[in-house]
């Protein structure tokens, strides 16, 4: 007996997959705001982060989210990313924290001189861990999705980290229904992944229907590109060694993921709209992470990085 259902108006009681995922993510985000003292949303400026930020805006509308955004600036991000970050945060009224490993930066650490592993360890992983400690954040949202990479497929939505920010895949807390265990001891923390159940296509669809602004690097354009060991690397600034920069030539490319420009390969593309990107994605034969240079280091390398505290 549906006594409160207004049968005369033929109401709809089903959600599309995107609206169901949206409802799930908003619930997760609110749960963190309610249960933690000092949460932060890690903002990578990528498309997934942009969706996560929109979901946080939705979760607390008509008010503002009760936590800041934090960007870990490795100092080697694409210039367009940094411009986008600053203008978006300002326009949308977010409090934005930007943290870097200044010590390593001053010592001149970078991918061209120190290689991808040292650079990532110092400018990304260490910078993140130091920033989390400095601000004493007890929960940190990340935009990772389970469909991205094998080790992520098994991670909980509320993912416990010990005092050293380490993830132990063998001792994850059981996670059932939508009841999340947010209890931690001092010094421990939880990484929270509200987009766990979203796929790459879901993210693009959502950006499309919600008209969420994203960094223009995702769209194809003529850009100065150097082919380094088969990776199409953009000559984004003068810090690229001159002998490489000289080889740059204009190519119509776009980026499927965004990160440090020397470590992020472009793909040749004609896709100038979200629809064209999706079309390209459906017909392409390469999965997303292949354009990230760091994955090639060693087998199971992402799992290793995650154990150490990298997202």
């Amino acid at each position: 007996m549906l006594k409160y259902m207004d049968t005369s108006h033929n109401l709809q009681f089903s959600l599309t997959h995107l609206r169901e995922l949206e409802a799930e993510s908003i619930h997760i985000i609110r749960e963190v705001a309610a249960e933690f003292e000092n949460p932060v949303m890690l903002y990578s400026i990528g498309k997934d982060s942009s969706v996560m930020v929109r979901l946080a805006e939705k979760a607390f509308a008509p008010g503002k989210a009760p936590f800041p955004l934090m960007h870990i600036d490795s100092k080697w991000k694409f210039r367009e990313m940094v411009e986008f970050r600053d203008s978006y945060a300002k326009k949308a009224g977010w409090r934005l924290i930007v943290e870097s490993n200044i010590e390593a930066y001053k010592a001149g650490v970078g991918p061209f001189t120190h290689g991808s592993k040292v650079h990532t360890d110092l400018m990304k992983t260490k910078a993140l861990l130091d920033a989390l400690d400095k601000h004493k954040f007890d929960a940190a949202f990340g935009g990772a999705r389970r469909d991205e990479e094998k080790s992520r497929a098994k991670e909980r939505i509320f993912s416990f980290r010990d005092k050293f920010h380490q993830w132990d895949p063998k001792h994850q807390r059981p996670e059932l229904w939508d009841i999340y265990n947010a209890r931690i001891h001092k010094g421990e923390s939880i990484r929270v992944f509200p987009l766990s159940n979203w796929t790459e296509l879901d993210v693009w669809q959502y950006i499309r229907i919600e008209k969420i602004p994203i960094v223009p690097l995702y769209f194809a354009k003529e850009r100065p590109i150097v082919n380094i060991d088969g990776n199409l690397i953009m000559a984004d600034d003068h810090r690229m060694p001159e002998e490489l920069r000289e080889k740059a030539r204009m190519m119509k490319v776009r980026f499927r993921t965004l990160g440090c420009y020397p470590l992020t390969g472009a793909v040749k593309s004609e896709a100038e709209t979200i629809e064209q990107i999706v079309e390209e994605m459906m017909t392409t034969t390469q999965s997303e992470r292949t354009t990230r240079v760091i994955d090639f280091d060693q087998e199971g390398s992402m799992e290793q990085k995650k154990r150490e505290g990298y997202f």
Binding site: R19, A61, P174
Partner: protein, 474 residues
């Protein structure tokens, strides 16, 4: 026919979402089946395939075939052991629907993971090897599925190629299974003969089973209803977070846990019992006229009544059960066995309370479903348990509402999720073995004067928020 990408996206946007669980024993070919679903729905990208071919040669168990199982066994340690050890989530879509697979292991010590994977599933696929039929593990998996209240089960009889696609053998397995499953009361059971390795009846109907009149596995997954697990009848709104952006707006945010709510409905706030009307239902885009599960919304009320996180909004003539004593089926998930002297934290909807296990009524043998007396529960054990909580909870039997009938138990020392429970119903305090733990404080007896009452009421409220209820006598 899809003519353009815009049209494709327009259609994709409208798809709904089915979550399902797969369970089987180690060699039932479960990972192969999932790999096949992903592969045939063209979700596997070429570079993943390259790596797969490399890995299959080095450590595959499928001879000349591509070992689909290697696609799924994510973590390094597991790949070395050749078994899946935890729940892994997989995503794929067809022209009609999106799917989330919770892939869970079948061997004994990991009941915990199957329970975890199955809690959000609309449907469960239980695999059996056609050569061995219904075995102990099949019974265990089915029992766990029924415990979780999954209403739709597919018995996938795999490796039919190894028994020559024999109809007699299939029929016998189905008979065995149906006879066993009957008392469990699972409303919808579908049995499908398969070969995951060769693809028979996985995506399309096989010519090798002309006697089978049903649809393929994917055909079934694409057409089953997805909303059977939701309660649309009894309005339940556990308040998650109070939105107060300014003086003129006070919204109670949360996820619809049951029923339908309309603008203008009369509502009662629990535990206060105060009544008001729904002034507006607010989402980011603006106001809506009504809301239903599982939407995340915010509700504003006509009157200023005191409502905070953990409270529940309901319709005044349709109240949930309430109380501090209830019985539940409990699954112990912690390596540390149950300690009935311990006070746990119990989280149900958005409410957290201190809780105490009064007694274990019996434990269930998951293989035979027989009950036996027990003092406590250990890892992977399931039993019926009586609880007493530190404050009043608002709940429904898990059978009628999963959202308001489920809870987790958290160890106060380790903070682990020690157990998960499904509420059966309310019990009377007189049936409890232990003592009621409600603390009564008589202010007169303590010589506390009226001028302190406000401060004491504040403390009472804060304690309640932290999970401890005290009764004050003035």
């Amino acid at each position: 026919m899809i003519c353009s990408i815009e049209e494709y996206l327009g259609k994709d946007e409208q798809k709904d979402l089915l979550r399902f669980l797969t369970a089987g024993s180690v060699d039932d070919g479960k990972s192969t089946l999932i790999g096949r679903l992903l592969f045939d729905s063209k979700k596997i990208y070429e570079d993943q395939l390259d790596a797969l071919e490399r890995d299959s040669k080095r450590m595959g168990n499928a001879g000349d075939h591509i070992d689909y199982a290697l696609l799924l066994d994510g973590l390094k340690a597991e790949r070395e052991q050749g078994i899946t050890i935890d729940v892994a989530y997989r995503y794929f879509s067809t022209n009609n629907r999106k799917f989330i697979i919770a892939d869970t292991p079948g061997h004994e010590q990991y009941t915990r993971n199957m329970i975890t994977g199955g809690s959000t599933a609309n449907l469960a696929i239980i695999l059996v090897d056609a050569r061995s039929g219904v075995i102990t593990q099949t019974r265990r998996h089915t029992f766990l599925v029924s415990l979780l209240g999954i209403k739709q089960v597919v018995l996938a009889v795999n490796k039919m190629d190894l028994i020559g696609f024999s109809q007699d053998a299939f029929d016998k397995i189905v008979d065995d299974y149906l006879r066993f499953v009957e008392p469990l009361g699972i409303p919808d059971i579908t049995c499908i003969p398969l070969s995951a390795l060769d693809g028979d009846n996985v995506v399309s109907k096989s010519k090798r089973t002309p006697w089978y009149k049903g649809v393929s596995l994917l055909g079934h997954l694409e057409s089953v209803p997805i909303d059977r697990d939701r309660n649309y009848e009894n309005f339940r709104f556990p308040v998650q977070y109070v939105l107060r952006p300014g003086q003129d707006f006070r919204g109670f945010s949360g996820k619809m846990a049951g029923g339908i709510v309309h603008k203008g409905d009369a509502v009662t706030a629990l535990p206060s019992g105060k009544t008001s009307r729904v002034k507006s239902i607010v989402v980011y885009e603006g106001e809506v006229e009504y809301a239903f599960p599982p939407q995340s919304i915010a509700i504003t009320l006509e009157d200023e009544i005191d409502v905070s996180r953990g409270d529940m909004l309901v319709h005044p003539d349709d109240l949930p059960l309430s109380g501090r004593n209830f019985e539940a089926m409990l699954v112990w998930m912690d390596e540390e066995p149950m300690d009935t002297d311990k006070q746990f934290y119990l989280k149900q909807t958005t409410n957290t309370t201190r809780a105490h296990i009064d007694s274990v009524r019996y434990k269930v043998n998951v293989n035979t479903m027989e009950h036996s007396p027990a003092e406590n529960l250990e890892l992977n054990e399931i039993g019926k348990v009586y609880f007493t909580t530190g404050k009043e909870l608002f709940f429904d039997p898990y059978k009628s509402n999963k959202q308001t009938g489920a809870f987790i138990l958290i160890d106060p020392v380790t903070n682990n999720t020690s157990a998960v429970g499904m509420i059966i119903g309310k019990i009377d305090a007189k049936d409890l073995q232990g003592e009621d733990m409600l603390v009564v404080i008589d202010l007169n007896r303590l010589g506390i004067g009226k001028e302190h009452y406000r401060a004491i009421e504040k403390i009472q409220k804060e304690l309640k928020y932290q999970g401890i209820e005290i009764r004050i006598i003035k």
